[in-house]
Symmetry: C2
Subunit: 247 residues, 2 copies
DNA sequence: GAGCGTCGATAACCTGCGTTATGAATCTCT
DNA sequence: AGAGATTCATAACGCAGGTTATCGACGCTC
């Protein structure tokens, strides 16, 4: 899973917007792969912002540790995602990032990012669009935290993962690998681990979600989508036409 | 309140990063002021993304109307803020925007934005930083929705407004004008209007917040900040050093 | 394969917040 | 200035979800 395979860049590629030079620049972000272990912290909250990363393998999450002892997971990152763009424009990290399972990441610097911005308007637009898209996912989570009940939050969370994993070819027979513990799911959804367990049981009893250890299957994804009224424009939609004249 | 007075741009100006041409470009975003009335919807969810806006006067909010009949307010915009950047990179609006009270807005187009990106790296960085900053505010709200109780959410919300208003000179004697109804505050914080009322009473009884109709006073802002462990780096922090060599 | 730590299921209990309702105060329109 | 519409405060009641606790099932390591 390289950045070139990622969704936004594929979109740009389809429109013929990417030159060979663009592709070279993009691959330049992935020259320094590093193997990381499960649970490894890539950076802490408030650390200096020096690097960004492409995830090649494994899952990660960004998080905030709170004064009251709890943790809020902000976002789960999958292979092909860029980590750290949230902090672009800040001197210090607004959130920590840790690996969920083991994987491979490719760090790159501010300088590389600036170089891309300077050399390739098409890539600049692509990177910005990618960042905005990640924010859209965050916004969707905010809506769910604010206004939906536990079973809707969990259903939405699983369905979102399902869609994102499907795009990168990580779904088989409506099932996928899901390395998060229920405690971590709770930290992402603003629920206690106990209630996540209860809610999983509920969804199982309704035939919407089957879970076996770290493997989740959605027997009827469409039924789940209906339950959460999933709005998938923010995940799948192409760049608007106006960008094509620009790039 | 013009964009030039806004915080990020002031930051850039202080570093001497803005040329006269930059300033002209920036003022070009504010050539078409339009008076808007209280409650006026600037655009609906799913509408085509054609315009962005600078708010010159008045408050606005972005929101999502949900299937279950409730509404989630995503963000409150104050004078000097840019509205709509959230949708940059999408063909359709991810959220509606409406005015809270009457005011003046200055719409501008994609084309103007592209022109700025093309002509002035300094402004491009400033705009991106501004967008990222708005997203940081959203993230902070997400954390509070997920992991804090009603009184903490409200205290945080008020203190954030206090800081943002102070920066634009709209705070006097620790008090400020706050045109949101309790129902709207509830929609922002994921609470019912009734509970917002209860919580206001609670904060009043503790001497932390005085409210008289649309006027809010924080007798002891520092005490409030301590209550919410307010992390203000995301509001006030300057651009990191690496940007200064770039711009 | 014994021992230990993590993870998840389920139960019992409690509370913060939603819901509904009522009345008072304030705003708006004519 | 009167009528209707908003907005807000407060109370009564119920429930979703937090908390604590217990137990079984899997993973580790030696």
């Amino acid at each position: 899973m390289t950045l070139l395979d990622s969704v936004v860049m594929q979109g740009l590629g389809r429109h013929g917007a990417l030159t060979e030079e663009d592709k070279t620049l993009l691959l330049g972000l992935e020259l320094n792969p590093r193997r990381v272990s499960a649970g490894e912290v890539l950076w802490q909250e408030s650390a200096d912002v020096d690097l960004f990363c492409v995830i090649k393998e494994g899952w990660a999450y960004s998080y905030r540790n709170l004064g009251n002892g709890s943790m809020q997971i902000l976002k789960v990152y999958l292979p092909g995602d860029i980590i750290g763009m949230r902090d672009f424009g800040f001197a210090r990290r607004l959130a920590g990032v840790a690996m969920i399972n083991e994987g491979v990441i490719c760090p790159f610097t501010h300088q590389q990012l600036f170089e891309i911005f300077g050399c390739s308007p098409a890539l600049a637009v692509g990177l910005i669009a990618m960042t905005v898209r990640q924010q859209a996912i965050l916004t969707e989570r905010l809506v769910y935290l604010g206004r939906y009940a536990a079973h809707e939050r969990l259903a939405h969370f699983l369905y979102e993962l399902y869609l994102r994993l499907k795009r990168i070819g990580a779904v088989e027979d409506n099932g996928f690998f899901m390395p998060l513990s229920q405690e971590q799911v709770g930290d992402a959804l603003g629920l206690s681990a106990v209630h996540v367990s209860r809610t999983f049981s509920m969804l199982r009893d309704e035939g919407l979600v089957v879970r076996d250890r770290q493997h989740v299957t959605l027997p009827d994804p469409e039924a789940l989508a209906r339950l959460v009224e999933f709005n998938d424009t923010y995940i799948d939609e192409a760049l608007p036409a106006v960008f094509q004249s620009f790039t």
